[in-house]
């Protein structure tokens, strides 16, 4: 990749190109794992610092985006552990719809998204990351396997379980 070559030759400004392409994506993935936006920003910055430090180790046999997501996943998991950000699933009692009573389609979509957001918060951070990668970034099982370091078989089982959990939670919230 020419950008990587330029960075390795000492043009650190070329790194801006990488951040402009992957910044939003990494931030979106990380912010699904943590609740505070400030934490998501700090962790995303840490991800890009690690990408910059280890860019010389990137081998072109794997996709660049997969490589970045792998760093993002590992950094986010280790930072959460380091910062002692605990995973506390939200209780059902708090799951009241804010848009209750609005009958139009927009309000319905909004409430569905709200349910999805709440259901996501009930998942452990690493599972949130993987399911977001799967649905929002449209990654295949093999790519998710490369990102998480799990075997493709394990990923398939894990994704199936996460999906079932999410569906169950959303249905539960919709019935309330």
């Amino acid at each position: 990749m020419p950008v990587i070559k330029r960075i390795l030759e000492g043009d650190s400004r070329a790194f801006e190109e990488i951040v402009s392409v992957y910044g939003k994506k990494v931030f979106a993935l990380v912010s699904k794992m943590v609740d505070r936006r400030e934490d998501a920003e700090d962790i995303s910055q840490e991800v890009f610092i690690r990408v910059f430090k280890s860019i010389g180790m990137f081998r072109e046999d794997a996709g660049f985006s997969t490589w970045i997501y792998r760093i993002a996943y590992n950094t986010a998991v280790s930072e959460l552990r380091k910062r002692k950000i605990l995973f506390i699933p939200i209780e059902d009692e708090t799951a009241e719809s804010d848009t209750e009573g609005n009958g139009d389609a927009e309000a319905e979509t909004e409430s569905k998204l709200c349910f999805l957001d709440r259901a996501l918060k009930k998942l452990p951070p690493d599972e949130r990351f993987l399911i977001t990668l799967y649905y929002m970034e449209d990654r295949t099982m093999d790519e998710i396997s490369a990102v998480s370091g799990l075997s493709p078989g394990n990923v398939k089982v894990k994704m199936y379980r996460i999906r079932k959990k999410l569906e169950k939670e959303i249905n539960k919230l919709m019935c309330l």
Partner: protein, 121 residues
């Protein structure tokens, strides 16, 4: 199901697709580039000091290892040494000192040649 195949799904994909796109916080790029610049400076400083530190460590090793060997062979070796000036016992110390000095000269010459060669390139 093949590994590259997506799990057949329904509303979840649509719902994820409808989720609002996260915008980067204000000043994210500037803060990051400042940290990157700091990292570049640290790397340059490391590159400048590393050969000196490596040389110093190598020389220290070359002096300490023979001394430790001598101490292992004869624990009274150092107590028997007479370091009082001006009567330095050169017979006993010339060998490790000269080896260390020679190694130091070689390492500095190597460092100088490398710098000279790379600066020309």
């Amino acid at each position: 199901m093949k590994n590259n195949e997506h799990i057949s799904d329904d509303g979840l994909r649509t719902m994820f697709g409808q989720m609002p796109v996260e915008e980067l916080p204000a000043g994210f790029m500037d803060k990051l580039m400042m940290r990157i610049d700091g990292e570049v400076r640290r790397k340059a400083a490391r590159r400048r000091w590393m050969p000196v530190l490596q040389t110093a460590a190598a020389v220290a090793g070359l002096i300490i290892i023979p001394a430790a060997v001598m101490f292992f062979i004869d624990p009274d070796f150092f107590s028997s040494l007479d370091f009082s000036m001006p009567a330095l016992n050169i017979k006993l110390t010339w060998f490790p000192v000269s080896v260390g000095f020679f190694a130091l000269c070689l390492l500095f010459a190597d460092d100088w040649l490398r710098r000279h060669y790379f600066s020309k390139r």
